[in-house]
Amino acid sequence: MITAILTMVFSWCLFSGQLPDSLLVPLCVLLGVLIAFVSRYGHSQSLSVDVLAQMSRLRTVNPMLKFWILFILMIVCIASANVYTGLFLLVAMLVMAVFVGGLPLSRYIRVLALPVSFLMIGGLALLFEISPSSMGVLNIPVPVFGFWLSVSAETQARTALVVAHALGAVSCLCLISLSTPMPDIISVLRRMRCPSVVIDLMYLIYRYIFILLTLHREMRVAAQSRLGFRSYRTSLRATGMIYSNLLARSYQFASKNYDAMESRCCDTGIRFLERPNRISLTHAMVAAALLAAALVLCFLPL
């Protein structure tokens, strides 16, 4: 809901003076309503990204290809001097994730909504500047000090560029995290000669996030079923006990896990068999087409 209101305010500020009011107001309202409608389920769980990544049809694409092409696209987007590269990537990534990857549109937008709302708050700060007169497109008087907070065409252009850069880059990041499960990303990092200690830790942390989360959920439910959260006082107590228990259990788990690794002859580092799919011609061509389009937009004198 907050995102929806934010979208309305931000788009109004960004486009006011550039579009006639008769077009601007419905556009802002439409954007807001659309976002409110898509995110009406509210509870996007923090790990839904992992579930979505496992689900995506783009998962079988060679992770090295995905990683590099999106990395390069991101750089092209940030280096570009116009807003179109960013907007193109926003749309292209949405198409890739939703229509090629097979994710539900609403889930994709919900994942994107969080970084985008931060982006819009930052954008608002960029839009307004202090000016001594009401020369801007949009002016808010500050009564006591006698100056205006105003939005000018110049700040609008500047903000549009920054926001477009960020939208494009965030879209690229979203696509990689929604199409590549963490272990694949870790294996790409390993092949890029990331230190093996870091890689081992990443594997273990990824695995343990789920183990500890499950443990925590179980303990919470157990506490709830014994009325542990009936009042503020008991909630504090129960939460404290759950976390101290979680610490103790994670130590136990770690030592068991270490035994299990030892029993399977693990003595240096964690290594798994990697059998990534070959880069197919179609995938390479799609990647090249995306890159070409982004480069053309980037260098086009618009």
């Binding site: 695995r207 299990a260 399977r264």
Partner: protein
Amino acid sequence: MSELLRVEHISYRYDDVYTALKDVSVSFMKGELVAILGSNGAGKSTFFLCCNGVLRPHEGRIFYQGQEISKSRKHNLMLRQGVGLVFQDPDSQIIAGNVESEVSFGPMNLRLPADEVGRRVDKALAQMSIERYRDYAPQYLSGGEKKRVSIADILAMQPAMILLDEPTASLDPQNSDALEGVLSELNREGITIVISTHDVDFAYRIAQRVIVFAQGEIIANAAADEVFASDEMLKRAGLKKPLLYEAFESLQQRFGNLESERKPRSIEEFRTLLENARPAF
């Protein structure tokens, strides 16, 4: 049958205070299927960790294929490769982010070439019939599926002997039956299987030999029928007789000599026995 693993007088203490194993001696033959019974805290898990070389017993010696296991790294690796250990809780064993990587972890540690690792992984997945979960992340598998993954983990290392710590503890009856089938199948292929459990019915059904632990000691080590005949020993171990064993005993007491070459181990055997029996009413 040749001897595969022998432990002689091993003892183990946790933190030098709590004695988990006291003077345990036992040996396992090639191709055997043995059940280890004992109540909670009887020392079964510690025994397994010692057999696999993760824990080093404070006293005693371990022989693998006639070779005494010294402290050297080479011997330790030999023991860990030859004697696989499936942990009770699959979650404490599984470390990878997907099933295929998980199963490859053991063979990778054996420093095998990648194509050999691939072959072993495929074979182990097929043996446990979990090929379709190849790309699944462990957090989205059910308990029974995770158990299969944890066994495939060990199979991929191609051990001569597999120790399973309470494999049926958290499985539903259907998964438990499936597991029983898999274990018998592996045993037929010549792998020595040792299962720790406190499910006496399961042990009676599947095991050729039964070893009973109580307070860190072995108090019985014989054929299943022999072990379950001793009331006093079972009481000491905190165990009960298998239901079928007791049912057969009661029938025999009531109707006299039932004709059977051996006591029925499964419900099918029991039914066949009843059909063929001509009790003297």
